[in-house]
Amino acid sequence: MSANELALQQAVKHLYTHHHQWLRHWLRRKLGCGELASDMVQDTFCRLLSLSRADLEALQTPRAYLTTIATRLMIDRSRRQKIEQAYLDILALTHADHYAVSPEQHWEVIETLTLIAGMLESMPDKPRQAFMLSRLENLTYLEISQVLGVSVSMVKQYIARAMVHCHHIIHGENA
């Protein structure tokens, strides 16, 4: 196991040596900020550590792969900023006492919101509606069936599908 981990680290190190400078330039052009680009390079290579060695060694076009990961990270980042802004706007609008919340708690809320928004955004419409009505609005399956105009057993299927979808996102599709 540790020999395997070592080999994986070697493979990532190899990629890092050959491509990190290039990736940094690429990100810098996209983001217009060197500091941020450096951060995102680190994040991109961190993601590589979760791959298997075989996958890494089989990479035909490492730069295309790196830019794919980096693009996904940039999307996550902009989604997070949007969420943060929406949250602050709503707090300001409702005059909620934001300062009762510690920075750590605030960070955690945004973290959770970003993950959840990502899960819900990629979900098909009907399962998403059913799931949100159940989980966020606490409607019963019967009530949801009336809102959506489908049978109760259909509502259950939608919600189960939504759960499977979230599971895929958190634990990976090939589980």
């Binding site: 949007k82 969420i83 707090l91 993950l115 819900l120 966020l136 019963t140 399956y141 919600i159």
Partner: protein, 324 residues
Amino acid sequence: MMQSTTTSPNADIILQAAEWHTQLQADDVSDVDRDGFAQWMAADARHATAYVQMEKLWTRFDQVQETPVKHALQAVLKPVRRKRVKAATAAFCLLGVMLAGVMAANTLPVRILLADAHTGIGEQRTLELADHSRVTLDTHTAVNIQFSAGQRHIELLQGNILLQVAKDKQHPFIVETAEGTARALGTQFTVRRQHQATQVMVIESRVEACAVQPRACVTLSPGESTHLQPGMTPRTTLVDPQVEAAWTHFKLVADHMPLPQLLNELQRYHAGHLSFDESALEGIYVSGVFALNNTTQTLGMLARTTPVTITPYTPWLTVVRPEK
């Protein structure tokens, strides 16, 4: 290597776990269901693993039930994707949207989302209109544009705009807000809406500014400004147009400006929340030209040049306190 495939649940098991979890939340869950579930759990170790994962997943959403968090989530989630809507149902949906629009028309955030043009925080945009007039939208600004049958009409919902109006004596150019109107034939002027008040400032030529209540108008010349506000008769004040319109170059010119006032201006361009106690910062004044397109840098400069400490906790929360 085979180990992982025998202990981690496969796709079938994950689906079964989701179905059991859903069934056990139902109002009509029966003893037969519970027995069946117990048997299923006992049948395979991977069943329990999958079910525990489902329960954890479910509880992740607990936090989202708090009202502000839930609303933030709803605000960022895109509405039902259009591609999926068939043409026949699209018209019906549109009707629904229009009805929803009418019902929500009085709540400002919805109006801003539906506005013809708007800018995000820290963003500026210049639009060229049908008559070649130009409107520049400052940060966090929303306008509706109505150009039809020779009518030149802009509604400012929130924020700050600069107008460079193409000359057309036949068709006056009108900017409207909730508090009043500004009417011009061909000129440059700015209109800013904040806290239920509208400020009109003229750079070139003349503009007639009228309040809604009381119904009263003033005619403004270059370098003159007025505030339209319910219950106040508009008066003319003298301003420096270069200073007032410096925002169009992402600059703010301060001459002995109270620090809280500067922070409030910076907040309009700063994506994160600036937290400060106005009374604690009383007596601190600033002068200079401040950059609005890099607020983080500007805050850093303020920290060095004024007796305050500025602590960024996250990119989204920065606290300004007087130095001890």
